[in-house]
Assembly symmetry: C2
Amino acid sequence: MKAKVYVTLKPSVLDPQGKAIHHSVELLGFKQIADVRQGKYFEIALDDSVSEAEAASSIEKIAREVLTNPIIEDYRVEIQT
Amino acid sequence: MKAKVYVTLKPSVLDPQGKAIHHSVELLGFKQIADVRQGKYFEIALDDSVSEAEAASSIEKIAREVLTNPIIEDYRVEIQT
């Protein structure tokens, strides 16, 4: 089983890295870009013996407690069977 | 219009950051995890005046030329209208 976790900065948090990328692509001639925000992406492979419910609860917990800083970040979890 | 770009290390490339996360979650008691790999995730907002075809080609180009190191990374693009 595989899980994907997406971690993004909360909309209210400034993203200087995204701003820098936005500026670079503008200099390269892409003028139609309104905004760029950078996040993190994790692919987690689970043992095949794990049930889907168990996987969902572990991954949710890992995303919340390990991969995300809840003060400034949001996360989203996708489980693929 | 919004685009999402996912950048991942090629499967043949070692991912020490993913390995470190894997080790940490194991120490925290999550024993069913087989592998963790970390990637990058970009949310790009485009001006509403841009056509879908134009957006797709710009984002594809930005992903390939700016956001990805083609020697060690793969990318995937999703356009949301």
